[in-house]
């Protein structure tokens, strides 16, 4: 009995040893060099494959960081701690970056904007913008409200409230997907430290803006007159000067006649005045139907 155990154990051990040696031999003999750093870096990256860095996913970006010397801070979803760790692996200095966030420059929810037509078609902004007129809202510059950006966001940071896209800055990692997907080019990445924004993107004649929306920026420049350092004109639109953003109390100071200049948190609440269905999940396609 003992012999059986010993012999079988011996045989298995011998086979294992021989094969192990064989593997060792082939591994040594036919070795191919790869850089272990790439895998290390890839493990540190968030793995969301959002593409915000401009590479085809986290694995691609990791190899670019190691082999081509790409800047790890190109990943906007990475925390500073992670960046430091990546820098440790690659042996390069960690780049500093300012935390950015996406802002939808529109306050025209369904209940706060004029309707031009009953839109009957695919409930997706990019598809709707192809149809003459583009969606049901009268304003040609405002948020369409069909949630292309919300579906594009890999972090679920955008919510559609009453036909208006609202960004939750605490979830936003500034990957920029929504910026590219918005057919109206309403979304911009701005420093997250700015507490207030001008929620309007209209280049319509001011009289028409008032007709189409309850909170348009009429370009009266009251805010600019209040403090030129904080506010400025950009391509015909009044915008916060994001290199020197004002405090939240600036809104009180200005008393914007239409309320287009608003504190971010309050803007979100205004948009939530009439909450409708929860934001569409990141489904592959819009599925809700619109009846006449």
């Amino acid at each position: 009995m003992l012999i059986t155990i010993l012999v079988s154990a011996g045989v298995v051990a011998a086979v294992g040893l021989i094969l192990g040696a064989l593997i060792g031999f082939t591994a040594k003999k036919f070795e191919v060099q790869t850089d272990p750093k790439i895998e290390a870096v890839q493990e540190l990256l968030p793995g969301a494959n959002c593409g915000g860095c401009g590479y085809a996913g986290c694995a691609d970006f990791a190899s670019a960081i190691v082999t081509k010397g790409a800047d790890p801070s190109g990943c906007s979803a990475c925390s500073d701690a992670m960046l430091a760790k990546i820098a440790e692996v690659t042996g390069k200095a960690a780049g500093k970056k300012e935390k950015m966030t996406a802002v939808v420059f529109c306050s025209g929810s369904f209940s706060r904007s004029a309707r031009a037509a009953d839109y009957n078609g695919i409930l997706d902004c990019r598809s709707a913008s192809i149809v003459a007129g583009g969606g049901g809202k009268a304003c040609r510059f405002g948020c369409l409200g069909y949630g292309s950006c919300a579906r594009a966001c890999p972090f679920g940071a955008i919510e559609i409230r009453d036909g208006l896209a609202v960004v939750h800055p605490e979830l936003c990692r500034a990957c920029g997907k929504c910026v590219n997907v918005c057919p109206r080019k309403l979304i911009r990445l701005v420093p997250a430290s700015a507490p207030i924004h001008v929620y309007c993107n209209s280049l319509e004649k001011p009289a028409k803006r008032r007709k189409f929306c309850k909170n348009p920026c009429l370009a009266c420049k009251k805010c600019i007159r209040t403090d030129e350092n904080h506010m400025q004109m950009q391509a015909g639109l009044v915008r916060v000067n994001y290199s020197n953003p004002p405090e939240a109390s600036f809104v009180e100071q200005v008393k914007c006649p239409t309320g287009a200049l608003q504190v971010e948190e309050i803007h979100r609440k205004i948009a939530a005045l009439k909450p409708v269905e929860p934001a569409p999940k990141a489904a592959p396609a819009p599925k809700k139907e619109e009846s006449k």
Binding site: R115, A116, A117, V131
Partner: protein
């Protein structure tokens, strides 16, 4: 201008109330519900035949399956908080086809399991109408055959006459396999006539080839099915069993016996042609029908199961995405023969 309009009392459409959509702005008015209703109409001959041959048993099974299917779908939409979809009659169609595929002795719980499996597992779990890769009725029949072989073979003689021999025509094949004479006897003309009319044992709706053929022609007349599928399927079975019969007369009866017996007719016209689970191009439909035909013959002649139509349909359903990939159609103008035609014309001009 607007003041003038008011003066002349000319009414104009109100902007703001207009509908905005892409072209086209008109439709031909057909809908999923109407398609399904037409399928139901085409099922009527087979339903009538089943009731004629199996009397109360057929009525019982039809009512059970139809209502269970409808309840299953309604319950699912209720549970998942979707808009009710029973209005498109697709659950009813599934229920009727499933019923026609059950033996006359099927107990109520068999109908219930089959219906729930067809509607919930095969259709709704995949996302409902249009998303299911497998035909619900065929998959349900397969599931019942595999899981409840006993109750699924509760054959009974039709109320109007006697059996060919054996419990079902296909069971008869297995019973006499090996004897060329017996096979020849099975393929005798009066026997084939019984099969054609449906005066034999079998599932309640599949016995009468005639009734199904009438309904199938109706489907073709309504242009609801691709005629390539039944054609290719029946032709393949005819050729395949024909060759095998000639090569080994003791193995299987002649091709006509195969086509008229079992689920070939109902499978070819009502189950294989399910538009959701069949290829979309005409060429693909031919290939699809051919695959079903070959698989059916293999299972019938050499397999342990006497009937292979449902199995074949489900396997061929699984092949549909591949068939769709292979059998694409070229767009208009893909062949540049027009350019060569012009070259000839150029010669004429000069």
């Amino acid at each position: 201008m607007s003041e003038e309009i008011e003066k002349n009392n000319i009414a104009l459409p109100e902007p703001g109330s207009l509908v905005l959509s892409t072209s086209p702005h008109v439709q031909d008015g057909d809908s999923i519900a109407r398609i399904m209703a037409k399928v139901l109409i085409c099922l009527l001959p087979a339903v009538a035949a089943s009731i004629w041959f199996f009397r109360f048993d057929a009525v019982r099974i039809l009512v059970y399956c139809a209502s269970f299917c409808i309840f299953a779908e309604y319950g699912w939409t209720l549970a998942t908080r979707q808009a009710a979809t029973i209005g498109d009659y697709s659950a009813l169609v599934t229920g009727v086809i499933l019923a026609l595929n059950l033996p006359p002795g099927a107990p109520w719980w068999l109908c219930l399991i089959g219906s729930v499996f067809a509607i919930i597992v095969v259709k709704e779990l995949f996302g409902g109408l249009g998303q299911n890769p497998f035909n619900p009725a065929a998959a349900a029949r397969v599931a019942l055959l595999v899981g409840f072989a006993g109750p699924m073979t509760q054959w009974a003689a039709p109320a109007t006459g006697s059996l060919v021999s054996g419990a079902t025509p296909l069971g008869a094949i297995h019973a006499v396999q090996g004897s060329a004479d017996a096979m020849a006897q099975l393929g005798a003309p009066d026997n084939l006539m019984k099969l054609f009319l449906g005066n034999v044992g079998g599932s309640i709706g599949e016995t009468s080839a005639l009734a199904i053929l009438i309904g199938g022609l109706g489907l073709m007349a309504f242009r609801l099915i691709k005629w390539q599928i039944p054609l290719a399927m029946i032709a393949t079975i005819f050729v395949f069993t024909g060759i095998v019969h000639l090569a080994a007369p003791g193995l299987t009866p002649g091709p006509l016996y195969h086509i008229l017996s079992g689920g070939v007719m109902i499978g070819a016209f009502f189950m294989a042609t399910d538009m959701v689970t069949s290829p979309i191009t005409p060429l693909g439909a031919l290939v699809f029908g051919g695959v079903i035909g070959v698989l059916t013959c293999i299972i019938r002649i050499w397999g342990a199961y006497p009937e292979g139509v449902s199995f074949s349909i489900v396997i061929a359903n699984a092949l549909v995405p591949l068939i769709d990939r292979m059998c694409y159609i070229r767009p208009f103008g893909w062949h540049s023969h027009s350019v060569s035609a012009l070259n000839i014309r150029r010669g004429e001009i000069k």
